[in-house]
Amino acid sequence: MSESLMRTRLYQWHVDHGGRMVPFAGWEMPVQYTTGPIEEHHVTRRSAGLFDIDHMGQISLTGLDAERFLNRLVTWDITQMAEYEAHYALMCYETGGIVDDVFIYNLPDKWFVVVNADNLAKDYDWMMAHADGYEVTIKDVSVDTYMLALQGPRAIELLQHLTPANLAEMPRFTALEAEVDGIKTLIGRTGYTGEDGVELSFPAGKAHRLWERILAAGPETGIEVQPIGLAARDSLRFEPSFPLYGHEIGANITPLEANLGWACRFNTDFIGKAALLEQKEQGLTKKLIGFELTEKGVPRQGYPVANEQGQEMGEVVAGLYAPTVDKYCGHAFVPPEYAKPGTPLQIIIRNKPKQAVVVKRPFYKPAYRS
């Protein structure tokens, strides 16, 4: 690898605590710690897991036209977002293909946009390229802002130990600003695991202190918590069918194809809207499905998908052994006629067809969705 990888401020901590470091999106990140990814997955589902997500990018938008500008760039109608509300959205190309998926926070003094590590530079450039005529200041604040995620059914209870804010009364997809262990923090009741929990943004210099403080609160409160690597982060996001850029979404995939129509509001005039409306009218040629193997094997990105007759007609974009649902399953794009749950498929694994069936997504229903 010729390009040098970036390291988060917790790099040395990860190495010292058994983190196995791998390149990911230009960063050197822990793929797992000593207990292994399956146990990390289970700990997060049963109690709490702590994630270093500082590789993710953060962009702040300020200025008179910030709202109007952002509403032009993303598929969600952000003018409907209350102060301190957080929402998922997509940034699309004119073609309807996806630049990135983002999480937007409506804060009193700015719009705060969290983007994928791999896409930060591209997203920033995309925003800058469309800023003409708007009074908006676009600032990449990633270096100064640290981000951690604390996720799991006991995450709120654990964090409550460290903050005077009343977390129990915080609805899902809202944020508040409060001190956590005396550190001014933006707490979002958000996350990407299908569990309750928070994502914390705070001054980067406090990364080490807050990380260790949260882990120390585990034994103090009797709440099981441990650091979680990227492998478990992937299986945790996969089971509730949350998309990941480079897998379920990308420049050649539209929100409609990826089952993300729910994140689009056609009353606004976002970039890509015309293409999506046209696609709606003409019908889709491919669609994202969930499948599970009915015989054993591990489906992985890039494997061909065939119909019952063995004709290849689709491709796996994500696949794994899903620890909580205890099945070998995946996501694939197939022509819409094969998208109905119950449709038999074959996944071609190392040139051998394995039987599979289309199943309803998500594989795991998020715990906070009643």
Binding site: Q32, I38, G297
Partner: protein, 128 residues
């Protein structure tokens, strides 16, 4: 890292032990450690024949699929079917309960070509 002193090894981390006139094979403790959580093992059919160096199966961990190589020429006489439901045994007992295959070697002299425990230890340590 454990190295079974009664086994011989390939540089690709498969161990082989003599059991009567058969050879039993698995993957080493070092291999399971670097693979991390094993989630699936694909083993050959009983009766299949392979040459030394052939791929006889695949072990899949959370993040990767790795080929398994034959240590000698031979015919498969038994596979460890427990691993179909409990692939995680490879992590917990790589030299014991998680043996992969038993085969009848067609050229027993190939045993002498395998790495000794000491030689293998050096190979594995160099990777750590």
């Amino acid at each position: 890292m454990n190295v079974d002193p009664n086994a011989k090894y390939l540089e690709s981390h498969e161990w082989s032990r003599k059991e009567g006139d058969l050879i039993v094979c698995g993957i080493s403790d070092h291999a399971q450690e670097s693979l991390s959580d094993v989630v699936f093992v694909e083993l050959p059919e009983v009766g299949a024949t392979f040459s030394k160096g052939d791929v006889f199966g695949v072990v899949e961990s959370v993040k990767a699929a790795s080929d398994l190589y034959m240590s000698m020429d031979g015919e498969i006489v038994e596979i460890n079917e427990i691993l179909e439901d409990e692939p995680e045994l490879i992590n917990s007992d790589p030299f014991g309960a998680a043996w992969l295959i038993k085969f009848k070697p067609s050229d027993p002299s190939q045993w002498d070509d395998l790495l000794t425990p000491d030689e293998y230890q050096e190979v594995a340590e160099a990777e750590e």
